[in-house]
């Protein structure tokens, strides 16, 4: 059975002002213990019927781990599991402190894809976001990644930060394109719970996030990227042909994946489960049981269909109704007839046998999703 393997590295040198991810500034001793737990959990999932097609190190900042640790984890994966010959092995990286030797080391270990968190080429915006790198760092890091021999490179960008002009965003997108990565992800700044930037906005230090402005900026970026040969294959993800992120596609195609590490999520044989969130709790759990699973649930049929629909619709290729009907045994066309008609009449979806989000629908995708469930 083909699966993807996700590993979470919850460590960061500094917490960004908008960060809602599971990441902490943690002592080296705990980091060492954490790596040991990851290795144990990788072994726990040993099953000869599994074939690992993608490996993804996410975080936090996975590149804060020393090469030796990353090497140990990769060795364990290869020794425990059957790994595909053309496995995609990705790692998320931060532009600060990326040394050439480290990058070469990553390549030797087996990484063949890097995702660089640049976010913006506007120093003012980097400051608002609380990023701990400069524009120069970003440019240098990208060049070094290329030099180290990586040819599958993603750049992450954020738009809609308070104080960002349309010009600033246009420049950022153009600069990213100019570097010639093979993949670009763009995200509207969203502030959840009580992140620092949200508090600052409430205090009046920065202006509120403007969703209309974000809508404009999204469309602008789509236009620039399209003209530069980047094809959008998912709501927020663009790539050169053939360079779509195989690991993330597993999520949107509703395929199976195993998540290892603190707060990692898995989807295996219709069951969705997740691990303990805090690194210390995760380490304790793995010590006790060999895995870090905290809770999970089995998807009932109706839930599976809904999930498949809303995930598939995120992709530009949309959802093929015939495939859903065959896979789940439900006449989707009839079941969602009223909703499809409404959405079509309002210009949010297009297509007949294959339903896709329209251009207007991409920005208003929730209006579509909420009617699919």
């Amino acid at each position: 059975m083909k699966i993807g393997l996700y590993l979470h590295i919850p460590f960061c040198k500094k917490k960004c002002a908008y960060c809602d991810f599971n990441s902490y500034q943690i002592k080296k001793e705990i980091q060492k213990k954490y790596v040991e737990s990851l290795i144990s959990e990788v072994r726990f999932y040993k099953k000869s019927s599994l074939l690992v097609e993608t490996i993804y190190f996410g975080g936090g900042t996975p590149t804060t781990l020393p090469l030796a640790d990353l090497g140990k984890i990769m060795k364990t994966i290869k020794n425990t599991h059957k790994v595909s010959d053309d496995v995609e092995v990705s790692i998320e990286a931060n532009p600060d402190g990326l040394k050439t030797e480290y990058l070469s080391g990553l390549k030797k270990i087996g990484f063949n894809r890097i995702s660089l968190g640049i976010q913006s080429f506007d120093p003012k915006i980097l400051k608002v976001l609380g990023r701990n790198h400069s524009v120069e760092n970003s440019l240098k890091a990208f060049k070094q990644i290329r030099k180290a021999g990586f040819d599958n490179i993603n750049i992450d960008l954020i738009y809609g930060t308070p104080g960002e002009t349309v010009e600033s965003w246009k420049k950022t997108v153009r600069k990213a394109v100019f570097l010639q990565p093979t993949h670009i992800s763009i995200y509207p700044l969203t502030l959840e719970r009580h992140v620092k930037l949200k508090r600052d906005i409430e205090k009046g230090i920065y202006s509120r996030i403007d969703e209309d402005d974000q809508a404009d900026k999204y469309l602008l970026a789509v236009d620039i990227l399209k003209k530069s040969s980047f094809k959008r294959y998912e709501i927020s993800n663009f790539s050169l042909p053939g360079y779509e992120c195989a690991h993330n596609l597993l999520y949107w195609k509703n395929k199976n994946y195993l998540g290892v590490g603190a707060g990692a999520h898995s989807f295996y044989k219709k069951t969705r489960f997740s691990n303990f969130y805090f690194p210390l709790n995760y380490i304790k759990a793995v010590e006790r049981r060999g895995h870090g699973i905290k809770k999970g649930y089995r998807e009932i049929l109706s839930e599976s269909i809904k999930q498949e629909m809303i995930l598939n619709l995120r992709l530009d290729e949309g959802v093929e109704l015939g495939k859903i009907e065959k896979k789940f045994g439900i006449d989707v066309k009839k079941w969602k007839q009223k909703e499809f008609e409404f959405l079509r009449n309002n210009g949010l979806i297009k297509g007949g046998k294959r339903i896709k989000l329209s251009e207007k629908g991409v920005l208003l995708a929730n209006e579509v999703f909420v009617r699919m469930i």
Binding site: H265, F267, V362, A365, N366, E367, I373
Partner: protein, 312 residues
């Protein structure tokens, strides 16, 4: 002379927020009437609000008391339309029809609208004379008489439309006179008024619950205020919503609620699937609780906000 049944001066539409509470409201109203015969009511249907009741009160205070009792003693969640007085429509034939619901009227040019008038007595320190007279004049009061009870205290008599004093008049009077003025009024019959009916159209469709009858001179201002209030309260839909105030076929005020352009979960990776699904589920539940207001749907809170009368 005998007992005269007190006449309702102020009317309002009472609707249960949850359609399922209609029977409960009906029963509560009948119980209330048993111990308060001055309170009257009859079933009414609104295209915008569904099934409810048109209720008659002796005044705004009476209306407030009844509303509070219904909400507290009978545990009801109510939507109350803006109170109005009972107008009378005089048809070409001379026949007079009582209108307790403004949306019932459809006026033809040859017809007249009569409104109830009251004789108003205000007692206040004479230093506030100017500001009081300004207020009453602004409310279409017709001066009748002024009597100095002493050097410092004066009694003012006006005849004024009831509709002009049921909103915010008492508070205004108190504010202008630092609380020293007091007022009293008595119904004195119907008089013809230069009145028009304002229809409120949302997405091109008139919403009966928002219709109001108002003096011609105040129509433009009031229409503008209402449209503006609606634009601020009604949440953006994913299409443009025109708001219009109209007198007959003439649009007197117009604003547009811009279409919402972005409503998307931009990130959805492995760890987001379950959480974002829950978010969508909550959004779906929110949609179920939307109430129809003409062609569009708005949240309950917005509904209540729209129907709320400006403070009195």
């Amino acid at each position: 002379k005998g007992y005269k049944e007190p006449k309702s001066m102020v009317y309002s539409g009472l609707y249960p927020i949850e359609g399922g509470e209609y029977e409960k409201l009906r029963d509560a109203l009948s119980k209330l009437r048993l111990n308060d015969p001055s309170f009257i009511y009859s079933p009414e249907t609104s295209k915008a609000l569904g099934f409810g009741f048109r209720c008659g009160f002796l005044g705004l205070l009476h209306m407030d008391i009844i509303r509070e009792r219904l909400e507290r003693e009978y545990d009801l969640n109510l939507l109350i339309t803006a109170p109005s007085v009972a107008y009378r429509l005089v048809k070409e034939s001379g026949e007079e029809i009582e209108i307790s619901n403004p949306s019932e009227t459809s006026m033809h040019r040859q017809e007249k609208i009569l409104e109830p008038f009251v004789s108003l007595k205000i007692l206040a320190p004479s230093e506030y004379l100017g500001t009081i007279m300004d207020l009453v004049k602004d409310r279409r009061g017709e001066y009748r008489e002024m009597i100095y009870l002493s050097e410092k205290r004066v009694e003012l008599f006006y005849e004024i439309p009831l509709a002009e004093i049921i909103f915010d008049f008492f508070n205004q009077l108190k504010a202008r006179t630092r609380g020293y003025a007091s007022l009293d009024y008595e119904y004195i019959g119907y008089r013809e008024g230069d009145l028009v009916k304002i229809d409120i159209l949302i997405a091109g469709e008139p919403v009966d619950a928002l219709t109001l009858i108002i003096h011609k001179n105040k129509a433009y201002q009031r229409g503008k205020e209402l449209i503006h209030k609606l634009r601020k309260i009604i949440p953006r839909q994913f299409y443009e919503v025109p708001l219009q105030a109209a007198i007959g076929s003439k649009i007197i005020s117009r604003e547009t609620i811009k279409a919402k352009r972005k409503d998307v979960l931009a990130k959805c990776y492995g760890g987001d699937v379950t959480r974002k699904r829950k978010l969508l589920e909550r959004q779906k539940e929110g949609k179920k609780r939307l109430k129809k207001l003409g062609k569009i749907e708005i949240p309950q809170e917005a509904f209540i906000e729209i129907m709320k009368v400006e403070e009195d």
